[in-house]
Symmetry: C2
């Protein structure tokens, strides 16, 4: 592959930032990758791992002369970061982000974007339960979707160039309205995380069942929830604070449905239970057919027969 | 390994029954394994796969002369099955089950157990999202816990022999009071399944977000829930109908906690969100340390760096 951006700046070098650096190296996508992390310890780790060409203590230094600036920070930190880097951005530069919420990011960042700079919000639907610069790997985005939510009047060439960048990183591309993105992600990502965090908390607080019992017998289903409940707490706090309306709407629907199930259990309505349990199988099949999960039994945890 | 039971009968040849057959073969645990399945199609599949020495159209034939009878049926089918096989059981035989609920099974089966037969309820905490005789594999129980809930006055030698059987199948053994078992499983298995089924149902019913969008962007977290929401509907209907009190109790706690989270989101209480999200990480670590889940990133779905 050929270089798409001569100079790329990564602001934030956690799971996503570091994975982008690895993916750029794999595909020879950028001539020079500069990185910024707030903490000295993170900068030392990044220097040791060597996935950036240069590592900087300030955002201002990192973004100097950059053709693409990727803000890989928790959603709540994006507005202040944009305000801080704005005076230092090169004319014609593209600034994007990887935040899980888009309307709030546009609200927070938009006013600070200088004339002549292209701000194109984005969100790669990819992640793992691990965080930090050591968690990144080049394959994170392979086959996953990346959603761009360009503002009305966005420069077509800039959007195309950013799309080419993500494709070169392994992603499949989609363009969406910010409000619709936030609704789609509320059900496919935010609510699942909220529920996973919640049930793990509920289990930890029981008196009659000990924590060691919960751990020992987690193979009954509980352990599937603990993976996403191990995700970065700051990132997720910011998601819920910044996608409030959509999350509350999905949560309301979820709770209504759960109340109906609770009633079916209380009154012994086996048909209602069976009907729900039978129709949810089809969705799993579709997800596997769409290449968004592995078909292997038990996520491949057990060796498969034969 | 040496033979533990000369003749073992498997009543029900789905995921658990067929996996037991494979595990017995692997460990040379039984001299002869007879199997019964209600449907002719299943019996034909089992005959083709060849994991039983003999396949029978009736339970009566299958249990004849058996030293161990394993009832591998949905919880709601166990009482009738016990009543049906009772007159045909050999004196001194052990009858056990693999049901996910224990108090109700004891209530339903207990009255039918003939004198001189040892009824020792059991529950292997192992499974996958696949069902049927083709889903089984010998390694299913390896390193997983099996809980026995013997009745008071149970024969020590019989309990020991059944324990040896499960150990030979790869399990780790635990003995528990039935009521406590049902409470522990309500939080580690039943509630997780209920919630997974519920959120998949909620997502399927949305109007503003299409089903294809839910599938496409499921890598954001949703797909983790779909695995267990693809489990056998009859088995799970029976679990909820038969562990009502414990499930409703756990569901009540879960809902209270979720309501508190909802309130934190509505009022923008970032500290409350952060505090919960930070403490759930430790439980994931403990589950991995206890050997009950894989440490691989993303359940090993993505290739790991290096």
């Amino acid at each position: 592959m050929s270089v798409i951006f001569e100079r790329v700046a990564l602001i934030g070098l956690g799971l996503i930032g570091s994975s982008l650096a690895h993916a750029m190296r794999r595909g020879n996508i950028a001539g020079h990758v500069s990185g910024h992390a707030r903490s000295e310890a993170t900068r030392a780790t990044v220097t040791r791992l060597g996935f950036c060409h240069s590592v900087h203590a300030t955002m201002e230094e990192a973004v100097r002369d950059a053709d693409l600036v990727m803000l890989c920070l928790p959603v709540g930190a994006l507005g202040p970061a944009m305000a801080q880097i704005a005076p230092h951005l090169k004319k014609g530069a593209i600034v994007s982000d990887v935040g899980s919420v888009k309307s709030a990011v546009i609200r927070d960042c938009g006013p600070h974007v200088p004339d002549g700079v292209h701000f194109i919000p984005g969100h790669p639907i990819a992640g793992t339960e691990h965080s930090g610069p050591e968690a990144g790997f080049a394959e994170l985005f392979d086959g996953r979707w990346c959603i761009l939510t360009p503002l009305s009047g966005a420069d077509h060439v800039a959007v195309e160039k950013l799309s080419a960048f993500w494709r070169a990183c392994g992603s499949r591309l989609e363009v969406m309205e910010p409000r619709h993105h936030d609704l789609v992600l509320a059900i496919t990502s935010h609510l699942p995380h909220l529920i996973a965090y919640n049930i793990v908390g509920t289990a930890a607080d029981l008196e009659e069942v000990t924590q060691s019992e919960v751990i020992k017998y987690s193979a009954g289903g509980f352990r599937d929830f603990t993976r996403i409940a191990a995700s970065d707490p700051v990132m997720w706090r910011d998601v819920f604070l910044n996608n409030r309306e959509a999350v509350l709407e999905m949560l309301q629907r979820f709770t209504e449905d759960l109340t109906a199930l609770q009633r079916a259990i209380r009154w012994g309505d086996g048909d209602a239970l069976f009907n729900l349990f039978a129709r949810t199988r089809a969705i799993r099949r579709s997800i596997i057919e769409a290449g968004q999960d592995v078909a292997a039994t038990n996520f491949g945890r057990n060796p498969e027969k034969k």
